[in-house]
Point group: D2
Chain length 337, copies 4
């Protein structure tokens, strides 16, 4: 947990969380580690502005329900579950019209309230998502970032499309596999890191390239036209310019990577004259994205197992942060129970 306003985490004993009548208590088995957790660990400017210690960190997990509030009717003790970490108000106009993913009143576990790097977590029953029998706790524990990838991919028109994925962190690699499973005809994955490119290739990328090779390969594979869809998963300025440059006229750019600072864009030539559609990806659509994810996993058409490259016990948090910062990890998870 983040005990105070300083770098680092501590592992300490805390009371079992209380839970409301419409919530459930979950024993955490696996928890995924996200770049957001690293920001909080490092206590950078964003973290200092958003997070109020003391707080238990972590927002990706799977586990077993151990207690249910008295108003809860459709979650039972013993259920194998994961959960949507964005706790929305459920009553605002966005929530009532199918746009909960951008609910202005969202509270995120591990950021705005206690999270899942712990033995137990309390969650509203409405946020719980049951795991299919075919889905392990390992995979259940990374539903949150996979969901980001599913949201990014499935809000574009993928069957038969040519796709460029810029940035092969875990979400980018998931996206490669989802594109392949969803019928993309050509997937070109770009990153500076060869370990990540190897994972992208394993997940089904037809071409893996360094950013300086991307233009030539895209041109060759698309007859000079550019790709139908770019999934921008890096947040890096040069990659964003490349996204606008290498997508075809009339194409679509899905933006998930978060740039750390403003970027100078020539809207005329990069977006308007090209007739592009640009879509900003926030979280996961509730719960369309979750249903699709379950379907892809249950059928076996998408298997994220190779993306999990490192496992640590909860007290290995310093090592976990280190391996992520090294850039050589795919997905890193905590084995808690």
């Amino acid at each position: 947990m983040k005990e105070g306003a300083a770098p680092g985490f501590v592992l300490k004993d805390v009371p079992e969380p209380s839970f409301r009548d419409d919530e459930v208590l979950i024993r955490v088995h696996r928890a995924g580690v996200c770049g957001t957790d690293v920001h909080i660990y490092q206590w950078d400017a964003w973290a200092q502005g958003r997070v109020k210690p003391p707080i238990i960190v972590g927002h990706e997990f799977a586990g077993e329900v151990v207690r249910v509030g008295q108003l809860v009717t459709d979650v039972r003790e013993g259920d194998r579950v994961t959960a949507e970490g964005h706790i929305v108000d459920g009553r605002c106009l966005l929530c009532r019209t199918g746009n909960s993913h951008v609910c202005p009143y969202t509270k995120i576990i591990g950021v705005d309230r206690d999270g899942c790097f712990a033995e137990y977590i309390a969650m509203p029953a409405t946020n719980v998502w049951h795991l299919d029998d075919a889905v392990s706790f390992d995979i259940g524990g990374i539903h949150d970032p996979m969901g980001n990838a599913f949201h990014t991919v499935l809000t574009a028109d993928i069957p038969g499309s040519t796709v460029l994925v810029t940035g092969c962190g875990p979400i980018g690699i998931f996206a490669v596999g989802i594109c392949r499973a969803a019928g993309a005809s050509r997937i070109i994955a770009s990153d500076i890191n060869d370990t990540r490119l190897a994972l992208a290739a394993r997940m089904g990328a037809h071409d893996v390239v360094h950013p300086d090779e991307a233009e030539a390969v895209v041109k060759e594979r698309t007859g000079g036209l550019g790709v139908d869809v770019v999934l921008e998963m890096s947040g890096v300025a040069s990659a964003i310019h490349q996204a606008f440059s290498l997508v075809r006229v009339g194409g679509r750019v899905q933006m998930l990577g978060i740039p750390a600072k403003p970027i100078e864009v020539d809207f005329s030539t990069e977006i308007i004259f090209k007739g592009l559609t640009v879509y900003g990806v926030v979280g996961r659509r509730m719960y369309d994205t979750w249903l699709s994810m379950t379907r892809f996993l249950r059928s076996g058409q998408f298997d994220p197992t190779p993306v999990i490259t490192h496992r640590f016990p909860l007290d290995g948090f310093d090592d976990a942060m280190g391996v992520i910062k090294s850039g050589d990890a795919g997905k890193v998870i905590f084995e808690i129970a």
Copy 2:
């Protein structure tokens, strides 16, 4: 060709077709045989009302361009091509707004003007579609019915969906393979014919069933809810009722199979109270469908080769008609050059 108003075809020498300045002359290498051709061969009521002999029959083909009209700029002698067999006016409101597939002024080759069961055919250059190097004349010769299947599948939302295909004639079997390549999570194919079901299984159906088993299997595979999408490829009344019955509430039914006569439907319970969307499939979208088809073929994600079960020389037309009528064929093609 169909020489007169009576059952049967004849093979005879005819002059090489003339072609206009905006047309090209194509040497036919392969031609696919369609149920429509059987109707004309048998000279049934529909054929008698629509077709005016003498006429060369056949509308599915691939070949090599041997002559080009003087206004043609983007097709050259020697090009390997197939063609859209619906010749539209190109200037009506439907054509000008992206709906050429339902142009009211459509003329179909082999039905309204001379077709492709011949050594040469003249086609407007605008109808010509170039074959990718990776695509054989065999596969080129069946682009028309594959295009029907692509149109049927890709106008539904397939990635992650559960799909029931009712009717496993060649177009139904193509549709199974396209659904699989486009990311369907569960494909249930239904037919009365075990030969066809075996082909459907080979093209990727997760379950193949007889119609009387369909309900139980759909219920089991979808948790009792019904499938997201039904592709109705049979035109049989009982299959159409089953389509409406086994699609989930709020789902989608794509209708391609042509019923021979009116069917009694309870709109209240079969369509309205279920909140369904029903879509009538005509031809192929020009040329979105063709581009997708080329992408799926070029990438290798969809390979229709197993569907071609019989080959005949052009003078084997009686045998070709016979094998189709037997119901045991997949796709039947003529090898002409």
Copy 3:
């Protein structure tokens, strides 16, 4: 209320309804009368199969909140409200993916549980919709059927479209006004009843016609092509055939009217060869339809006031049923408080 399994209603004193912790108690000011209520009053075959007396009938209303359950946070005593009468489970896959309107576990007030032809009604807080200050209880009391009309209209592409409305009962007349407000370029309304056609004209229909005139007028107004969209609001077999006949190729038919029995349809010529999309309308989308409705009312771009033609006290229920059965009424409401 419906006291027993026989025709007619009775007015009687009943205890104030109890309400759960997540429900509110509403004092009913206005209630709309629907054809469904007439079916229950007449105790026809449908009613006998669905409704279990004793039950308070009525599902369209507006009123004032007088008590709120202890778990309710966003509805307060004194709030002016109406409500969605479909009580859904909120947790099934349909509800969780934005399709609550087809939730298989729906309970309808006035049909499956006590309704609104009463001084008080208990409603789940999640079903409550606040009335804008600009919206009267009269208009609030008919949100349910207006919502059906909004759902029917706004799931088609209306701006600039030509529209045929077959059937000018209250929902059809609402639909005319909504089409006009949503930018339809030509609205042709068809009915056998001149009183209803006069209301349709008042709500903005460009042409009002008897069914036997519809074909000629549609042809003339659309250059022979047919209309882009048909809103089928009658449930009459001849009107449904006319819908398929008078919509243009590639057009859309929205079906809301409920046929009393099966209809023989030639799918080939009426739907498939025309490349139509047919959509079955159930209830109101939750709560996209409600938000749009509030927007249209608040802006004044749609004013349903002329459609309300008759008002009765609650004990005038026999007269209310009679005037609806006469066919000369627009919308009939009860003035309760």
Copy 4:
């Protein structure tokens, strides 16, 4: 015409244009003046890089067909017409899949080949659009910029929406009127120029504001949420930032105004975390936009007449350029025949 590589235009006698067999010769009656023409007149950096004098300028016009090429079948001498000024190749993948508006081989009249500030112009028959009897040459002469506005508006979901229009040049003012006709519930128009705001109000804006008032008015009219749709018609950096700021989460920004230089954007907060969709508008969709435009004009639901504020003979080109540069004009047209 632009005679050489220097500022200004000249009026001179030139030979009647030749035309190909698939083209028609049109006697120009009215021609609209666009900001693009002012750039060419002033011979700024963009013009110097794109335009090759000598060339006849002008791309918006209406007139009467006086001669038709021998291959032309559906345009006749005497027809009252306007035309799409983007001459596309018609055969590339973009053109063949309904995206001619972004055809990479587009030639624009008045920029890449001779334009319409002349007595006669030659146009491909496929670019000709017939004027409805109800549409005057005045209105016909401004179909090109109105088409930009229709494209911008009708690719968003307008019925019932709240809309902010940033920039009330002629296209912005057209957009206001189209939004009103298409059922927007609240239209807020923003500009620095009161003359333009007065025109926006006359065309149906509910609120007209200066940019520094926009935030407060948007907040008030939308309950603090922001508008559903922003139409960015100015190309000004501060307006673009305001577009991203004042659109609601999950909303849509249509970008038509062309920024003169790159703009620094914080993608994280301005686009991604808001879950926005951004669409770059190029030209007019061929010919969906044109059909919608004709429908809106024919029905009278949209009347652009008030936007035409100034008329000049062809030799008044210096005055015409001056009045546009002054910023006080709506639409300026030449009366040629």
